[in-house]
Amino acid sequence: MSRKYRRSAALVMTLLLAGACGQKPSTIRDSAAARAKEFQYEAPAEPSDEGHAGVATPADAGVAAPEPAAPDSAAAPPAQPIGDGNAPVLGLPAPASTPAASGPLRPTRSRQAAATASDTSSSEPPSAPAATPASGRPAPSEREQATSGPVPPPSPPREAIEGPPDRTGVSDTTIRIGIHAPVTGAAPFPQHAFEQSNDLYWKFLAEKGGVHGRKVEVVFRDDKYNPSSAVQACREMVEEQKVFAIIGFAGADQITACARYADSVNVPYFSGGVNEEGLAGLNRYFAISQTYDQQSATLAKLMKNRIGKTKVAIVVIASPSLNNTVKSITSEVLRAGGLQIVRSSRIGKYASDAELLSEAQQLRNSGADVVYILAAPIPFIKLATNAQAQGYHPTWVGPGTTNGLAVVAEAGCPSVEGAKFLSPFPQLDVIDALDPDYKASFRRWVGPNPDDVGILMWGLNKSIHQMLEATGRDLSRQSFLKAVTSGRVFHSNVYPDVSYDSTIRFGAKTAHLLEADCTTRSWKTTGRFVADF
């Protein structure tokens, strides 16, 4: 009896919803197209043939368009098992000009034995909601590179922004900026670190008259170290608080999620450099420091020329947005020559102790002298500590993330002795030489003990200040973006110099080198604004 009722109720519900929903949601179609576009651009994040095969995917799905991958497939060995999990492209033809442009861009590099070959497309980050694909884009030009690093993705050119100037968040006296960072959630950072100094720089600036007569007002939200909450927080900042632009301070997943949302609603978004996958192709996303991929070349040279050991292991968190980074570091290490990759593995974001113990053991067994690690502070510290307990002391190296924060040195010593990390921000030992205003402002407005999380935020904010300054008094989103992408170099002397143009969104070329000094349980800045070793 009841089964009948259940079935009829289900049927009624289905009919109702079917009637209401009808055809495929429009957002999906657009996002699939946007993803298709992304795929053509993001795949060549590293000069490997995976990138070429990635670009070949639309071809596999039967897009009737000039095939961008054609010249490249000839150079690359075929048959990459890509495209299984990839979303089928809805037949949106690729822009006609792309193949001509992308062909000569691909340098022929030696094929590497990528461990995670098949993962490129099968584990895609979420697509941008309702991204509008621009039609008729001009050919993307190659991004300039000061360092001889991997060829960056040719970012799509800035769209011509039409319509009346968008002055949301700008008044005669204030500019409202939204900031999100992890305060609660399983974040490895000290509780109030992000809350207490996120607007320190703007307070300092207000005293000096602000920027072109305007003060900057900060709206701060906790993103709970979780991409869903991050999007909610960003939505609130955009829809209710009406911010002019958004900055994301830490947490690659949250940054990726928010950046995609911000781009879909035409809000400029800035963050320190993290992954490129999922962010390349967003017109309004700007990385203020080098991305992980960009740092691969520098790190490979560091391994070869500074450290001088040859056996290298690569350990990266098993997040899909880092797949390209694994490829980029692998290829850079091979390219540097004289280095041997003895182990390459991925560990879970919330890896259990047993897993980390086992990983430490296997690293030791592999005999690696240098370990490239890309993980959040907690798994890194646990891994290093476990290694230390086994009498295994490799040199840990890695790209600029939050591993360069003091909390890692304090907690990780003595296991992390000698670790070398690239970082967008310099540490407390040199900040006075680079910008004496930081510590003074911290002591004045926050408390007696300046910390390095504050430097992270100070530098980011200061770089944004340079950009606001360059825009001038007539401030709208359009004029701001125009100034930002004008090719001008923004010099904060805290973060590395950064510049963008119509296609480049990852605009930094250097980073700082931090080394762990366990006698003082802190990081020493042994290299400032370096790109080479």
């Binding site: 974040a187 259990s352 047993a354 510290i381 646990k382």
Partner: protein, 301 residues
């Protein structure tokens, strides 16, 4: 592979220590004590707080155990005693509530950041088994586990107090009639279980490379329950054996490339499979009575 075995024994003894407390509570009242993990976490927080404030490590450890004891007694007074006659499932949910409250309180008062506590014994490479260095702290965990398991078994088998505790679980009325205060016994049991939990937390926190709110519950409670079930919920030595088995199972899984590369989170799958298998094929556990499950009698429905 051999290293995996050693790692398994070492990690499993941590589970075993928590399982001891679980078995104790079950033996004496038929309750699955969900809050056992949090007794451990509370103890670690107290230890860290005291040690950071300059208190010597040994004293700080005692303070930690004291904090665990206090939380155990509070739980007994406000949660267990009022629900003495309620169905065991209700008590399970209630202790789950206690653990959630503890986690919430830790988050509130202690925040979510990672903290680190030094081990009690410093030497890291006391012995090397199959190439795996076993530190002093790990040996301490194993030794404590063995000692407590043996002592616990002797307690229940040979002492009057132990007999009284067992009697309480099987027939409270008769026990009371014999002049033994059920209330006191209950306090004793929960206090001891809480101290056991606290000990487990304090000894294994330094090995975990960092702790935060709820870390014992989140990392070890389910494996500890599996260990207890595997060994036999009524058997203290069983908790030891069960802990080692679970630890080895997890560790072997992690180190086998087949599993760990293709199945994310393989250890939890193995633990789940182990639990279901034990409950299906030998519910009384490895060291349980031959004839089958003998749970303390259910009280009123």
């Amino acid at each position: 592979m051999r290293q995996a075995l050693v790692i398994g024994v070492v990690a499993g003894s941590g589970y075993g220590l928590i399982a001891l407390g679980l078995v104790l509570v079950y033996k004496s009242s038929g309750i699955f004590n969900f809050a056992q993990g949090e007794f451990g976490t509370v103890a670690v927080f107290a230890l860290w707080g005291a040690h950071s404030a300059g208190v010597p490590y040994g004293v700080a450890m005692l303070l930690g155990l004291g904090a665990a004891l206090a939380s155990g007694l509070v739980t007994e007074r406000f949660v267990v005693r009022p629900l003495f006659a309620a169905p065991r499932v209700t008590l399970l949910v209630a202790t789950a509530g206690v653990s959630l409250f503890a986690i919430g309180a830790e988050l509130w008062l202690g925040h979510s950041q990672l903290r680190f506590v030094a081990p009690a014994l410093g030497r890291l490479d006391r012995m090397s088994v199959f190439g795996f260095h076993v530190s002093d702290q790990r040996l301490l965990v194993i030794a404590t586990l063995v000692a407590l398991a043996v002592a616990g078994a002797a307690f229940f088998a040979r002492t009057n107090l132990g007999l009284a505790v067992l009697g309480l679980s099987q027939n409270p009325l008769a026990t009371e009639l014999m002049g033994i205060s059920a209330e006191r016994l209950s306090r004793f049991t929960w206090g001891t279980a809480a101290v056991l939990g606290g000990l487990g937390g304090i000894l294994s926190a330094p090995l975990a490379g960092g702790f935060g709110p709820g870390f014992v519950t989140l990392s070890s409670l389910i494996p500890a329950f599996t260990a207890a079930v595997l060994g036999g919920m009524n058997s203290l030595p069983g908790a030891l054996v069960g802990g080692i088995v679970v630890g080895v199972a997890e560790s072997v899984t992690v180190s086998s490339p087949l599993f760990s590369e293709h199945v994310p989170g393989a250890p939890s799958v193995v633990v789940f499979a182990l639990l279901v298998a034990v409950l299906t094929f030998r519910p009384q556990g490895l060291l349980g009575p031959r004839s089958g499950l003998a749970a303390p009698a259910e009280r009123a429905r």
